[in-house]
Amino acid sequence: MEKGTWTVKVGLAQMLKGGVIMDVVTPDHAKIAEEAGACAVMALERVPADIRAAGGVARMADPTVIEAIKRAVTIPVMAKCRIGHFVEAQILEALGVDYIDESEVLTPADEEHHIYKHPFTVPFVCGCRDLGEALRRIGEGAAMIRTKGEAGTGNVVEAVRHARAVLGAIRRLQGLTPDELMTEAKNLRAPYELVVEVGRTGRLPVVNFAAGGIATPADAALMMQLGVDGVFVGSGIFKSADPAARARAIVQATTHFKDSKILAEVSRGLGEAMAGLDVRSMKPEELLATRGW
């Protein structure tokens, strides 16, 4: 009997496909998410919009918060550690979380190195802005990838940019010759073997979700139609007027992403979405997606 294998790590993410992973800060939020049909929750002290507003250094959540949320639900519980903070990751593994998000939403602990994730038993998900970044993270052992988007903005534009960058680059790799693939590995700054594999299969070797700015059922379906495997919704649910209704609607939109009649139905009467931020009016130091490489 072998635990913590690559198959088992990637496998849990495969079970999450077609689903919605929701940020929650209390056990009550977690129950609302589970009852709405979330396939997992992300246990946090603050949602990204509040992390933005609070400023200062954002760190791993207090274990008490994570444990209370774990007790509240039976679906998988994820938690975030800072980029490069492998001790926060060790603590989250000891707490028995089901997935660790090495996340740019928290303040990076290391600006040169991400965590070397292969030795851990618990699997990791990491953010990316393009294919090279995705493959570097997979090279370090990430068993699931998500777009970075721009968390806490309620603005889907960056998630779209990052998903198109990743999926477009995958399409371009197909049909390249071996010498061209080596050049492309250089251009992408990505491990050659992974570039070859993606060129051959036409997909990432791990599950690929969208994250960062998804606030409506239409946003979720947009990301699914672009070709991601599922969505993370952070501030978009619990910063809206009616979190339970919006959560249910986003779950249905993610399953029925190609069915415009259902999308029209579930988009009705959800109340105010979260107030959004125009990413173009933000200062460079306010952008979270540029953290990590």
């Binding site: 009997m1 079970m15 077609g18 049909g37």
Partner: protein
């Protein structure tokens, strides 16, 4: 060749479709009532059982699927799919199709760090052993008189079972290259007279 619908509300339905297609069958995605027409069998994939059961209800599939599974239509559930087929669940489970006379406990091995791979002896598949992937897996705690246990862990815990035209596995044959379980479903569950 058989047409095997794969319930595509949430979970790893693509992996099941790829195996069925590799074996020469067709494997349409099932999200609506009309998708059930013309099928020879149905696979309920791995995923989050609580998410899938809620989507079954909101997609108006719960009652039609209960009727199918309870009425002798071939259905195979893997992991979450096994939970959804079971008549009896532990206190955390939400009853879904209640078709198969088994008692199932969810997340029976603990958290993700306790997920594992192991070689299983499966007499109906013959040799070699079947390499099985268990992810936050359920187990079968009780079996009714009409249920045949197809595989057990070393400690005797049942992890695969069959009752008439219902098949349940606690693990994920769709995640490994070995297609013998899918072949078994096609040849001995779906095609059985």
């Amino acid at each position: 060749m058989a047409t095997i619908g794969v319930l595509a509300l949430q979970g790893d339905f693509r992996e099941h479709r790829e195996v069925i297609e590799r074996l020469g069958g067709t494997a349409p995605e099932v999200r609506h009532l009309q998708d059930l027409a013309g099928l020879d069998g149905l696979i309920i994939p791995g995923g989050e059982s609580t998410a899938i059961v809620r989507l079954m209800a909101s997609s108006h599939l719960l009652e039609p699927l209960r009727e199918l599974a309870g009425g002798g239509f071939p259905v195979w559930g893997t992991c979450a799919g096994m939970i959804l087929l079971a008549k009896r669940l532990d206190a955390t489970g939400i009853p879904a199709l209640e078709a198969m006379d088994i008692g199932v406990r969810r997340n029976a091995f603990g958290r993700q760090v306790d997920s594992f791979e192991v070689d299983l002896r499966v007499p109906v598949l013959g040799d070699p052993p079947f390499h099985a992937v268990f992810i936050r897996a359920p187990v079968i705690e009780a079996v009714g008189p009409e249920v045949e246990v197809l595989a057990r862990l070393a400690d005797g815990t049942p992890v695969a079972a069959r009752q008439g035209r219902l098949l349940a596995t606690a693990f994920h044959p769709e995640l490994t290259p070995d297609s013998r379980f899918h072949r078994f479903f096609l040849d001995h569950v779906v095609r059985r007279a």
